[in-house]
């Protein structure tokens, strides 16, 4: 029984500690906000906001208040707004404790690819290159394999990189892996998943 999207998000939320300022990427990472519980977490939206609140009630959407995924959001009583230069200043300057991001591929050396598939799909890196270069801890949350059943944890990435040697921890539907000297180390397996199943689904070197 691998984890589903919500269980992955719940597991990722365990990475967050009281008092942290955190940036959550689009997709599963966004769900992490639902699982922080009592912890005092401040969410950064890299388009210029700290203290991101939940979606607004219908009819209360404000076109001047969106997150980095362009969704309408709300503010909290701790919220501050600032411009993009300051926003990425705090990201590059290491003031943001952690980023939780999705990925297309991660290599055993912590390389991350998540911004384009040459000739097919071009999203752009947005703020991801700055985030992985700047925040103190980079946590990737993604499915362990792609739709074709191929491992997304590779010996080396095949797609253009977002960052080189930047990923610290990977949370997949099968478990949790850390980037360590020589490859990836299995930290935890999802309920009912064995280390052997993770090894079988992983192209990257697993070290013990």
């Amino acid at each position: 029984m691998a984890w589903d999207r919500n269980q992955m998000a719940e597991r990722a939320a365990q990475e967050l500690e009281d008092g942290m300022y955190v940036n959550l990427g689009i997709g599963i990472p966004t769900l992490v906000a639902n699982y922080v519980g009592d912890k005092d977490i401040t969410l950064q939206s890299e388009n210029g906001m700290l203290g991101m609140g939940p979606f607004p009630y219908e009819g209360e959407e404000d076109p001047d208040l969106i997150n980095a995924g362009k969704q309408t959001i709300t503010e909290l009583n701790r919220t501050s707004y600032f411009d993009s230069a300051m926003s990425f200043g705090m990201i590059r300057g290491g003031k943001i404790a952690a980023a939780i991001l999705g990925a297309m591929e991660v290599s055993e050396e912590g390389d991350l690819a998540n911004w384009m598939i040459p000739g097919k799909l071009v999203k752009g890196m947005g703020g991801a290159m700055d985030l992985v270069a700047g925040v103190r801890k980079v946590i990737v949350v993604m499915d362990h394999t792609n739709k074709a059943g191929e491992s997304k944890l590779l010996k080396s990435c095949t797609l253009p990189l977002t960052g080189k040697g930047v990923v610290n921890r990977i949370i997949t539907n099968l478990g949790v892996l850390d980037v360590v000297e020589g490859g990836l180390r299995i930290v935890e397996t999802a309920d009912g998943v064995t280390e052997e199943e993770i090894r079988a689904a992983t192209d990257a070197t697993i070290v013990t």
Partner: protein, 234 residues
Amino acid sequence: MKKVYDNATEALDGLLHDGMLIAAGGFGLCGIPELLISAIRDSGVKDLTVASNNAGVDDFGLGLLLETKQVKKMMSSYVGENAEFMRQFLSEELELEFNPQGTLAERMRAGGAGIAGFYTKTGYGTQIAEGKEVKVFDGEHYILERGIFADLSIVKAWKADDTGNLVFRKTARNFNPAAAMCGKVCVVEVEEIVPRGSLDPDCIHLPGVYVHRLIEGQHEKRIEKVTTRQREEA
């Protein structure tokens, strides 16, 4: 020195020429200079290079200038949500210089602050770093990025006084201050021009020294993705 103009067309009079570099504020459709963009489209100026985080959507924001093929090159971090942008890029009708979002903001600020170049870790070891100087500081690799010096800045703010002191609102601030700084000339559109002295001098986000021309106008302020939550029943 009168900075206030009647409308976008007048405010841009004499400032547009083919092949120019324009820095635009805004993020997605939030805080974009929609009136100035429309006036630039109507002017027919072409072969533009536009530095802007993204290009709006197909039929709003900078997407309007892509639709009319007035843009030769974009300097952006993000293409998503604009099918025409991606199509023109993949078919090589449009040049695209990818800039990481923070690098783009910092390059604009740098240009405006007289910083010709700076060293950042962002993008080291990626294709963004190709052809750029790499330097090691304290054992870490950094790449050299250049300041952007634009011919024209187009900016959207919330309020201004007639000396051009600007206030932005919530996340509509985004790239606007940095874009404003890096232009030889900066034209700003606001929702309201207020009397001098009615803005708190401690809360002016961008002083009037950065602003050369100013218009007040009605803004559509379209929302790209409406997301809401359910109201709990009492």
